[in-house]
C-alpha cells in the first residue's frame, strides 16, 4: 500500500488507530503518536466496546458451551462480571440448573436441580470448628475434588441450635453479606425449620406481607429488609420399632407446592440475590411498613403457597430389612458406603402414594465425608439444610 493510503487509513475509522502490532512502518507510527493519549485511549476502547451484539453473543455462547464443568466454568461467571452488557447476555445464555443440570452462578444454589438426574455433591465436616462445607463433585471416583458451594457453621444456643449457611467459605456469620439462610433446630433436635434469607419466589410474597406493590419492583437495585423466610419444616420420629428401627423423617416444603411434581409443574425459582438492608429504609418502597420482617419461628403452614395447592411433603424411603445381613438396607447406588443412622433417601409423598423417584439422598462415605445428591424440585441450599438436620438430630438408633 502506498504511504498515502496508509495516511487515509489513519484518518479513517476509530478502531484502525489501535492496531499497534499490525506491522506499520515507523513513519506511520510517528503519525499515531502525534495524537493525544486521551483520544488514543478512547479509540482503543471503542473497538471492543462497539462489538455488534450478535457477535459478542456468539463469543460468549462459545465460552458457555465449552466450559461445561468446574473449574473451567468459572470463566462463564468471570465474563458475566465484566460489564453490564456482558452480564445481561451471559445471564440470558446460561440456563437454570433445572434445564441444564449445571451450577453456574451462586444463585444456581437457590434454584431447583434437574428433573431426571441427580446433582452429585459431598459435604465435609470439620468437628474442631463445627463447620460443614458443601462441594459439587468434580470426579465420580473421589470425594476430594470439588467446587465449593456453601458453608455452614453450627451455633448452639440456650433453647435451640442454629446452622448458619453462607456463600463464604471462611466467614460464615449471619451479619456477613454472604448469608444465605439457616437451619434452626428445637431443643431436642427432633424438629427443624429451614429459613431463607430472601423470599422464595424472588420477591413476590403472598399473604403475610402487607402492601407489596408489584409495580414497585425494579430490576436495578431491589431491596428487601433482612429477613428469615421459613421454607421447610423437618421432623424426625422414632418408627414403630422404637430405637431398634430406622427413624422416620419428614420434610414439609412450605415454599414448594405438591403440584411442582407434575410433569408441567413449577417450583419456585429465585433469579437473583436481593440486596438486603438491615438498617436503612429501602429506597425503592418494597414494603410500606418498616417492620415487614417475616420471622416465623413456629412451623409456617401453607402461607407461601396458594390456598388450594398443598405443600410438597418429602418422606424418607423406608429401608428394607436384610435377613441375611441382619441390617436395614437402602440402595444408594454406590454413593453411600458406610452404614450410619444419618443416611437417608427422601421421596415425594403425594395423594396418589409415594413416588419412587429419590429427590435427595445423603450418606456417609468416610470419617467426616458425606455424599449429598439432589434433584428437582429442591435447590442445593434446601438440600444442604435438610442434610445438616441429619447431623443434629438426637434420636438415638441402635
Amino acid at each position: 500500500m502506498s504511504f498515502k493510503s496508509i495516511l487515509q487509513d489513519m484518518k479513517g475509522d476509530f478502531g484502525s488507530i489501535s492496531r499497534k502490532g499490525f506491522g506499520l512502518r515507523s513513519r506511520s507510527q510517528r503519525v499515531v503518536e502525534d495524537r493525544s493519549p486521551a483520544i488514543v485511549d478512547a479509540l482503543k476502547q471503542s473497538c471492543w466496546a462497539n462489538m455488534p451484539p450478535e457477535l459478542l453473543r456468539d463469543v460468549l455462547m462459545r465460552i458457555e458451551a465449552s466450559e461445561c464443568a468446574w473449574p473451567p466454568r468459572k470463566n462463564v461467571v468471570s465474563c458475566a462480571g465484566v460489564c453490564r452488557n456482558w452480564r445481561e447476555i451471559m445471564k440470558d445464555i446460561v440456563k437454570n440448573p433445572e434445564f441444564s443440570g449445571k451450577l453456574t452462578f451462586p444463585i444456581s444454589l437457590k434454584q431447583p436441580g434437574p428433573r431426571n438426574s441427580l446433582i452429585q455433591c459431598f459435604i465435609k465436616r470439620n468437628r474442631s470448628n463445627q463447620t460443614y462445607h458443601l462441594y459439587l463433585s468434580l470426579n465420580q471416583a473421589t470425594n476430594d475434588d470439588g467446587k465449593f458451594l456453601l458453608a455452614a457453621i453450627k451455633c448452639r444456643r440456650a433453647t435451640c441450635t442454629d446452622y448458619i449457611i453462607s456463600l463464604n467459605a471462611e466467614d460464615v456469620s449471619k451479619g456477613s453479606n454472604t448469608y444465605i439462610g439457616k437451619l434452626r433446630s428445637n431443643f431436642l433436635g427432633t424438629k427443624f425449620t429451614v429459613y431463607d434469607a430472601q423470599p422464595p419466589n424472588g420477591g413476590a410474597l403472598t399473604t403475610k406481607c402487607r402492601s407489596l406493590r408489584p409495580g414497585s419492583m425494579k430490576r436495578v437495585s431491589p431491596r428487601v429488609p433482612a429477613g428469615d423466610y421459613p421454607v421447610s419444616n423437618i421432623s424426625y420420629e422414632l418408627n414403630v420399632l422404637g430405637s431398634r428401627g430406622p427413624r422416620r423423617m419428614q420434610c414439609i416444603m412450605n415454599a414448594i407446592p405438591a403440584s411442582a411434581m407434575d410433569p408441567e409443574g413449577v417450583a419456585p425459582t429465585q433469579t437473583e440475590f436481593l440486596v438486603s438492608n438491615v438498617d436503612s429504609f429501602p429506597s425503592i418502597p418494597f414494603f410500606r411498613s418498616k417492620s415487614a420482617r417475616i420471622d416465623n419461628s413456629q412451623s409456617g403452614s401453607g402461607l407461601l403457597t396458594g390456598q388450594n395447592d398443598p405443600m410438597l411433603v418429602l418422606k424418607n424411603k423406608a429401608p428394607r430389612w436384610h435377613e441375611q445381613l441382619q441390617c436395614w438396607c437402602l440402595n444408594f447406588n454406590g454413593r453411600v458406603t458406610v452404614a450410619s443412622v444419618k443416611n437417608f433417601q427422601l421421596v415425594a409423598s403425594l395423594e396418589n402414594g409415594e413416588h419412587e423417584n429419590v429427590i435427595i439422598q445423603f450418606g456417609k462415605v468416610g470419617k467426616d465425608v458425606f455424599t449429598m445428591d439432589y434433584q428437582y424440585p429442591l435447590s442445593a441450599f434446601q438440600a444442604f439444610a435438610i442434610c445438616l438436620s441429619s447431623f443434629d438430630t438426637k434420636i438415638a438408633c441402635e
Binding site: D9, S16, F22, D41, C47, M51, V82, W86, P106
Partner: protein
C-alpha cells in the same frame, strides 16, 4: 481461470482492492449485493471495514476459495489469527458484517479462547472495557467473584 471477472471492493477509508469475483463471493454480503445490484456493479463499497482489515479479509477469502482442499489450510487459519487483539476484533467485526462464516467462526473462537483463564479485571484491562456497574452492584459482584474463584 474460467472467469476473469473482477470486482473492486472499496473500504471505509477509500482504499480499493481488485479481486476475482469468485473470491469476493466468499462474502455472502457481497454476493447478495452483486445479485441484487445488477450486472453493472463492479465496485462494491464496504463502509464498515477499513482498508487494512479488508486487505486481510481478502487474503483469507483468496486462500479459502483458491485452495480449499490444501493440506496447509488449517495451519494457515491458525497463523492467520495470531494477531494483535485489536486486529482480531476488527477481523471478527468485518467477517460479521461481510457475512463470511468461516472467518467469523475462526475469529469468534479465537476471541473466546482469549477470554478464558482471565479474571474479570484482566478481561477489562486486556480488552479495554469499562466497568459500568454501580457501587451497589459491585458489592454483589465481589461476593460472586470470591465464591467463583474459591476452590
Amino acid at each position: 481461470m474460467t472467469s476473469s471477472k473482477t470486482i473492486v471492493l472499496r473500504s471505509s477509508d477509500g482504499a480499493t482492492f481488485e479481486v476475482d469475483e469468485a473470491v469476493a463471493l466468499h462474502s455472502l454480503m457481497i454476493k447478495h449485493r452483486i445479485e441484487t445490484g445488477g450486472a453493472d456493479s463492479t465496485t462494491i463499497d464496504v463502509p464498515e471495514v477499513t482498508g487494512n482489515t479488508l486487505s486481510k479479509v481478502i487474503e483469507y477469502c483468496k486462500k479459502h476459495v483458491e485452495a480449499p482442499n490444501s493440506d496447509d489450510l488449517k495451519s494457515f487459519d491458525t497463523d492467520f489469527v495470531k494477531v494483535d487483539q485489536a486486529v482480531l476484533c476488527h477481523l471478527a467485526k468485518a467477517s460479521y458484517y461481510m457475512n463470511i462464516k468461516g472467518l467469523l467462526d475462526l475469529s469468534s473462537k479465537t476471541i473466546a479462547d482469549m477470554f478464558k483463564g482471565k479474571t474479570v479485571e484482566q478481561i477489562r484491562e486486556t480488552f479495554h472495557i469499562k466497568n459500568d456497574f454501580t457501587p451497589e452492584e459491585e458489592e454483589e459482584l465481589r461476593k460472586e467473584n470470591s465464591w467463583n474463584l474459591f476452590v
